[in-house]
Amino acid sequence: MSMQPIRAVIVDDEELARRVLREFLAAESDIEVIAECANGFDAVKVIGESDPDLVFLDVQMPKLDGFEVLELIGARPAVVFVTAYDTYAMKAFDAHAVDYLLKPFSRDRFDTAVERARRRIHAAGPAKPEMDASDLAVAARGPDQYANRIVVKDGAKVTIVPVEKLDYVQAQDDYVELHSQKKSFLKQQTISSLESALDPKRFVRIHRSCIVNIERVNKIEPYTKDSRVAVLLDGTQLPVSRSGYARLTALLEGNG
């Protein structure tokens, strides 16, 4: 086993909660705490810069919650979630995180989590998580709850796009391009994963590669024999497939 110390970051907005982790970690000689963060923005920035092996991540925090942080930092570090109470979140943890700790936790429970993290970190290469980080955020939200915002990272800068300001989304290979108020943002997520996070009453998948905000659609015009184009209020034209057209009309009639 390599004896490089494990570099850990603690993320929690409550000073006392960070203190418990610090105290417990002080007894682990192979783990070095390289940073502490009190909010989601800081966490994304610090984790991006310092590339830690292990992150203790609180769920409820200012700026970005734990799931949003996870979406933005990707699956590189081993993540141990720390939370007080969140039924849906706990289900989601099972599928992705190394472990999760419920506040308040015992020393034994903490040791188990750290041991799991060690095994994961020392295993040859990062294990492929069973669930994509973006899908995890969807699962953690619980049934019938849709995202009210989307977080995007560009370098060290984090942008929050409220869904009501999202005009349309286009798929670009493994990325999605989000269009909001004449600006566009690239995010590493599949279009299907994003589609399932958005409220189907407001957003419709009009094409294999395109999701549109229903309120932005001005009109639908025929294009070829089998396809149509959606013209948005700002004049943007988007392709509409046959099944996309069916979904669009179903939604418009349902809303009407």
């Binding site: 907005d13 409820q60 200012p62 700026k63 109470y85 506040k103």
Partner: protein, 347 residues
């Protein structure tokens, strides 16, 4: 139905015996008696509707009696007339007896129907009572769950867990504050009306607990008119508002923020304002708005148009204004106010 028809065999057999006395072969007389009884058995089911429409109440007693007598008379006349046409002449001497029996049987059926309805009603009443009790208990449980938010509780316990090594006296202090808060929530939740002073003291205990969690991030500015403290208010109206302003406001602010609590009375109305800073960029807590709706519903149920709850949201502040009547307290509560020590003994 089978039982009902079986019971009808009794008058049928009696009739059969009477007819048998007139030298008619026993098999024929039995056939005749059952043949005559069966249609009337069906006729005697009709009081079902009359009994339903005319429940036995003091004010309707005479009306019900007259109605049933008339119905009995008509039914029996119809029966007797029908029988007259289908039976041989020599049996007509029994028609008067038949008519009398018809009336009595009909009235008997009416009585049975009333007994049956009474039994059903009492069964239903028991069920209704059980259901109401279950509903009340569910509501109570829901209210308790809503009052003691598990998130708050577990976070507090985690803070205590942290303090046990770094600051044991503070850990003990936190245990005591948390216990006070829980005890008072349970105690006040049971009452219908409490002095506003008690609600304020509960809120202060709550804020003292949160202060340990949030430290300097949580600032509170109080501006409470002492005259309001004697107002009677429903318990746990203000507490959820303060809890919301911590959960949705202060908890989302990196540098923390301020909660401003204002209370004043004018005329017979109590005005409470809770205002807090919030960060529009912070993620909304997963479960939100429940507490506010609960308060709104309770005001609407208790005060109707006389109570109001208005929410104003600006760029970075959230303001809830509550306007409710300042109710007068019962004698018991007023006595407590003067006997200042009594409060501590009651917990």
């Amino acid at each position: 139905m089978a039982i009902y028809l079986a019971v009808w065999l009794i008058p049928a057999i009696a009739g059969c015996l009477i007819v048998f006395g007139d030298n008619i072969p026993w098999f024929d007389s039995l056939l005749l008696a059952i043949g005559l009884s069966l249609p009337y058995a069906v006729v005697c089911l009709t009081p079902w509707y009359l009994c339903r429409m005319l429940p036995l109440r003091d004010e309707h007693l005479l009306k019900a009696l007259l109605n049933h007598l008339a119905a009995a008379f008509i039914s029996s006349v119809a029966w007797t007339t029908a029988v007259r046409f289908v039976t041989p002449q020599r049996l007509h001497q029994h028609l008067v007896l038949l008519f009398g029996t018809g009336v009595l049987l009909y009235l008997l059926s009416v009585a049975m129907h009333y007994v049956y309805f009474a039994v059903e009603d009492s069964k239903e009443a028991v069920l209704r009572e059980q259901k109401a009790e279950t509903l009340a208990r569910e509501a109570e449980l829901k209210a308790l769950k809503a009052q003691i938010n598990p998130h708050f509780l577990f976070n507090c316990l985690h803070s205590i867990s942290a303090l046990t090594t770094v600051d044991p006296p503070q850990a003990r202090e936190m245990c005591i504050r948390l216990s006070d808060f829980l005890r008072n929530t349970l105690r006040l939740g049971e009452k219908e009306l409490i002095p506003f002073a008690e609600e304020l003291s509960l809120v202060n205990t709550y804020l003292a607990v949160e202060q340990v969690r949030f430290g300097s991030r949580l600032n509170v500015v109080r501006d409470v008119d002492a005259a309001c403290e004697r107002c009677g208010v429903p318990p746990l109206l203000l507490q959820p508002l303060i809890e919301n302003s911590v959960k949705h406001g202060i908890a989302g602010l990196v540098e923390g923020g301020t909660i401003r609590l204002h209370a004043s009375c004018s005329g017979q109305m109590l005005r409470i304002i809770v205002e807090n800073d919030f960060d529009p960029d912070s993620p909304a807590p997963r479960k939100s708005g429940l507490g506010l709706n609960n308060v709104r519903n309770r005001i609407a149920t208790r005060h109707g148009d006389r109570g109001r709850l208005d929410v104003t949201v600006t760029e970075s502040s959230h303001r809830v204004e509550l306007l409710i009547p300042c109710e007068s307290l019962g004698r018991q509560e007023r006595k407590d106010e003067y006997a200042t020590d009594s409060r501590s003994h009651r917990g």
